[in-house]
């Protein structure tokens, strides 16, 4: 009995001797590694999507990457999705970029900062005639996460529906 207790105490002491410095070192080192490396540049993509309540087109191949989002309840009212436009561009930290879209809207996008997993961004979408800002938002999002902006009704050719802009950004430098 006594022998067993002594053995346990010895084992505990040895374990503490090994674990304590390691734990201190790990805890001390953690903030340095967890501290987000500043992202100076991000690649962004915008997909302009027309969502229609008529038709049975479903999700076209070029929008398959958005399948999970377009099958969400939020889009349950729409039966067909049409890709109107897709653009890729790069934004730099603290330098607002603006891109013109074929719908007439202009999208301003800024990289404001980042943490380990998310980018902090600012988006500004103008109306189609450019006379006013429809929305101005600061948001943070995981790399390549999608922010959707629905900008009202739209007709493309003979297809009428609702206009969606899918905005994605991911750190690149």
């Amino acid at each position: 009995m006594m022998h067993g207790r002594m053995k346990s105490r010895l084992l505990a002491s040895a374990l503490v001797a090994v674990l304590a410095p390691a734990t201190v070192a790990a805890t001390y080192a953690a903030p340095a590694t967890a501290r987000a490396a500043p992202v100076k540049e991000a690649k962004c993509q915008i997909h302009t999507v027309l969502a229609a309540k008529e038709g049975d087109g479903g999700i076209p191949e070029k929008l398959r990457f958005l399948e999970a989002q377009l099958k969400d309840d939020e889009f349950a009212a729409y039966k067909a999705f049409h890709l109107i436009e897709q653009k890729a561009f790069t934004i730099k930290l603290g330098a607002p970029s603006e891109i013109s879209l074929s719908t007439g809207n202009r999208l301003g996008l800024s990289l404001l900062g980042n943490d380990d997993t998310r980018l902090k961004l600012h988006a500004d979408l103008s109306s189609r005639d450019g006379s006013k800002s429809l929305i101005s938002a600061d948001y943070s999002m995981e790399d390549a996460g999608v922010l959707m902006i629905r900008a009202g009704s739209y007709t493309h050719g003979d297809i009428a529906g609702k206009l969606f802009f899918a905005i994605q950004c991911a750190r690149s430098g």
Binding site: V16, L19, A20, T23, V24, A30, P31, A36, V39, Q45, K62, F65, A68, D72, E74, I84, Q86, K87, F89, T90, G94, A95, P96, S97, E98, T103, G104, G108, L111, D115, R118, K120, D124, S127, R128, D129, G130, S131, K132, S133, L134, I135, S136, A137, D138, Y139, S140, E142, A144, G145, V146, M148, G152, S153, Y154, T155, G157, A160, Q168, A170
Partner: protein, 228 residues
Amino acid sequence: MTTKTSQPVTSEELSAYFDGELEAERVDAVVRALEEDPSLRAQHSGLGLLRESVRTSAEAHAQSVPAARFEQIWDQIDRAIERDARLQADANRNASIWGRLWAALRPVRMPVMVAAATAAVVAVVVAPGSNNPEGAPSVAEAPALETTPVVAPELPPRAAPDELALGELAAPSQPDPKLRPMTVPETSEAEIHGIEFGGKHGRISNTGTVTVLYVEEDETPTNSERSL
């Protein structure tokens, strides 16, 4: 089977009489035969017993149906209880592994916790001051960009794409003709820090899978023939 009457009464006639289906002209003959022939009366009584027996059996069967249904319900309950018990047993089995592990670590449990607490205290006391004396946030921030509060700016009238005032803005790079879509993370959820709707109304919807900002354009749809 004969009687003293002129025409013998057959079993079929007796059965038909018993069921009340015998022709009227033969009923009297059968009645008379029953009065005179004890064996025929016994046979008639046998038919009565048989009918009673069948009726009793049918009633017993009818009474047994609810019991059978009751058994079915109980079977269902039993199966549900058994399934729950099995799931609980699985959960307990999983828990018992951790329980055993926890029990196995009993001798060193307290020293390890003390060491971890000490390490955490040391780290909290030492870490922030050494690398970050001014307590700057860990999130890298843009150097001089005011983001709060967010105000929707009045934009100038839209110019032709070539004439857009991009001089003050960093011009975006050219679109990649072989654009490959980015792989969307499973939880594509935006955290909105500030928002200003320029239209009459707007709203934010966040389902966990996707974040949608709803804004309203002018009511008249715009035509566009441009497409990729």
